[in-house]
């Protein structure tokens, strides 16, 4: 009896029991899809976290004042920012951007928009804070020195004030002064609840003049020459600031936020998260596997009598075994492939706010394990039944 004939027998066996075949495949489908999707969701959320942190810029540190109120002895000043640009004491510093920010109302042709973060800074800030200008251009050092009233607006501001209009070279009113829009920032992924695109960036001098006055800075953004030098920069910056602020004790009036430290912590968290999800996936693979085992055992055991009939009609053991192995293979492979398809379709939707990212190895693992289990537990009872004396197989109830 040719192999082709046995394949036809297997197909006939599957189509003769359509409901059972469909249910078996469904069981395998769910097992495979669950594992792939779970891992994808875990991977997706880990990726989302690290994306958000990377958006902050990884080779920068932010110096912030811890002093409450306007006590002049603890406030960060433009002087201090200038002092940080020192090739001798701070050789690893690439750029220093003093930052003031406040909320402001921006008006264009009678339309108001409250910008939650109106930033005044120097041109170096755009690269240091990883905020590229998409359309138009940023302002220049000359703009900053001259206190020209130019502004780069975020995506949200552009959409609110200039729906369907090119905002470049339009004039907006901020705090009673006219600013010219010179650029629009690239869309940025939001950190937390604040809309990162609801922002406007203007030269430090202009913002101080119009909005915040000449008081203290909100923060100083220091960019390291190299991501590996961030820690060196941090110690250099604190040495200079300690000198400037006459710090003697251990408590400093400023706080340094290190994005790479934040990233390291968050990556650790994400790793823990991935491990957790891996464990969940392993368990669901086990449960899915037991489901497949169960349905295969039942399917084949139920057909012991049929195997007896076939043996009585003169089917050799090998032919019976091949037929059942092909049936099991078809069920597991088709079920597994459908499971992968279901997982791929499912992963294109957001699941509880997380965009799943498929891990290729999880596809291979889930598919491999289910097919192996399907084959083993489909083949085992079939070979047991094929070895029985026909009369025992026939009497099997």
């Amino acid at each position: 009896m040719s192999f082709y004939e046995v394949v036809r027998f297997a197909l006939r066996g599957l189509s003769a029991n359509k409901l059972r075949s469909a249910l078996t495949m469904l069981g395998i489908l769910i097992g495979v899809a669950a594992v792939i999707l779970l891992v994808a969701v875990g991977n997706g959320s880990a990726k989302a976290i690290s994306d958000r942190i990377e958006a902050l810029g990884t080779n920068t540190i932010t110096v912030m004042s811890t002093g409450r109120g306007g006590s002049s002895s603890t406030a960060l000043t433009k002087d201090m920012a200038d002092a940080l640009v020192d090739p001798v004491l701070a050789p690893d510093v690439k750029s220093v951007s003093p930052v003031v920010s406040s909320s402001a109302t921006v008006t264009y042709e009678g339309t108001d928009h409250d910008v939650s973060s109106f930033v005044g800074t120097t041109p170096g800030w755009f690269t240091a804070s990883n905020t590229p200008v998409g359309q138009g251009a940023g302002f220049t050092a000359d703009d900053e020195a001259q206190g020209r009233r130019v502004v780069v607006i975020g995506q949200t501001v552009a959409e609110e004030l200039f729906p369907g209009v090119d905002p470049i070279d339009k004039q907006v009113t901020v705090g009673g002064a006219l600013f010219t829009v010179v650029g629009v920032l690239d869309e940025k992924s939001s950190t937390g609840f604040q809309d990162a695109n609801d922002t406007a960036v203007a030269p430090l001098t202009a913002v101080r003049q119009v909005l915040t006055g000449y008081g203290s800075l909100n923060s100083i953004l220091v960019e390291a020459a190299d991501p590996d030098k961030v820690d060196a920069v941090q110690s250099e910056v604190s040495t200079i600031l300690d000198q400037k602020l006459n710090v003697t004790g251990t408590t400093t009036p400023y706080r340094i936020q290190n994005a790479s430290q934040l990233l390291a912590t968050q990556t650790e968290t994400a790793d823990t998260f991935t491990t957790l999800l891996g464990a969940v996936a392993a368990i669901s693979l086990l449960v899915g596997g037991i489901g497949i085992t169960n349905i295969m055992l039942v399917t084949v055991t139920e057909r012991t009598r049929e195997i007896g009939i076939r043996k009585a009609l003169g089917a050799p053991r090998r032919v019976i075994l091949t037929q059942f192995l092909i049936e099991a293979t078809l069920l597991s492979v088709i079920g597994g492939a459908l499971g992968v398809a279901a997982a791929l379709i499912g992963s294109s939707f957001e699941i509880v706010g997380v965009k799943p990212v498929i891990v290729p190895s999880s596809v291979g693992l889930a598919l491999g394990v289910s097919i192996a289990i399907g084959l083993f537990f489909g083949g085992l009872p079939a070979s047991r039944a094929a070895r029985l004396r026909p009369i025992d197989a026939l009497r099997y109830e």
Partner: protein, 245 residues
């Protein structure tokens, strides 16, 4: 005379061990020649089903020899045993044992497929076999769409499609009403008339009466073995059966 189709010597079958030992067969010897139509009768527990399963190569005896068409069945390996079941024996079960959800003609084709016959030839021979049992018009029906008698006739067609040396029937009419019984027995009479060798077991006297030879089995031993009509003529029971209707 050629060699006998069936030659059984001192066949014993013992189930269980110790206290629970059951001697199903206590040394049965019987020879069946080509063209004979033998009915084996016995009450429940007389060992007739055990004998039938051994003759059909579905079960193995504890001791004794069994020559089927001159071949010692106990010496055959799995492959050869499968081939013997396929080519030499056509087995008909009390409970029909058709493959469910598979059409009548596909059921009849099954032994031919295992014998390696090509699909076209297979279909032709399966239809011819169904024609012999008068069910050619039901070829496409699945077992659950057929009556008990029809299912048993499909099973008979399946048993004779490979032209086996021996047709074995294990209480073929046990699950049938009298009308269906008559249909199936007429098929047997017809097959016997055309020279086939048939061995069937039954506990119904009217079935046994139609055979050419009647063997009675009690407690695993043959007690009577009587010839009812000549081996080389159509079974007399056939005509008796028709007259009694």
């Amino acid at each position: 005379m050629t060699r006998p189709v069936l030659d059984v010597r001192d066949l014993k079958k013992i189930y269980g061990q110790g206290e629970a030992t059951v001697h199903a067969l206590r040394g049965v010897s019987v020879t069946v020649d080509r063209g004979d139509y033998v009915a084996i009768m016995g009450s429940s527990g007389s060992g007739k089903s055990t004998l039938m399963n051994i003759l059909g190569a579905l079960d193995i005896p504890t001791s004794g020899t069994y020559l089927l068409d001159g071949v010692d069945v106990s010496r055959l390996g799995d492959r050869q045993l499968a081939m013997a079941r396929n080519r030499l024996i056509g087995f008909i079960f009390q409970s029909f044992n058709l493959i469910p959800r598979t059409s009548a003609v596909a059921n009849v084709e099954l032994p031919l497929a295992y014998a390696g016959v090509k699909p076209k030839e297979r279909r032709k021979r399966a239809m011819a076999a169904l024609d012999v049992v008068g069910l050619a018009d039901r070829a496409r029906h699945e077992p659950n769409q057929l009556s008990g008698g029809q299912q048993q006739r499909v099973a008979v067609a399946r048993a004779l499609v490979t032209e086996p040396a021996l047709l074995l029937a294990d209480e073929p009419t046990g699950n049938l009403d009298s009308r269906s019984t008559d249909d199936v027995l007429n098929v047997f009479d017809q097959l016997s008339s055309s020279g086939r060798t048939i061995v069937l077991i039954t506990h119904e006297p009217e079935v046994g009466d139609r055979a050419k030879r009647l063997i009675r089995l009690v407690d695993g031993n043959i007690v009577t073995d009587q010839r009812q009509s000549p081996i080389n003529q159509p079974p007399v029971g056939a005509f008796a059966g028709r007259h009694s209707l």
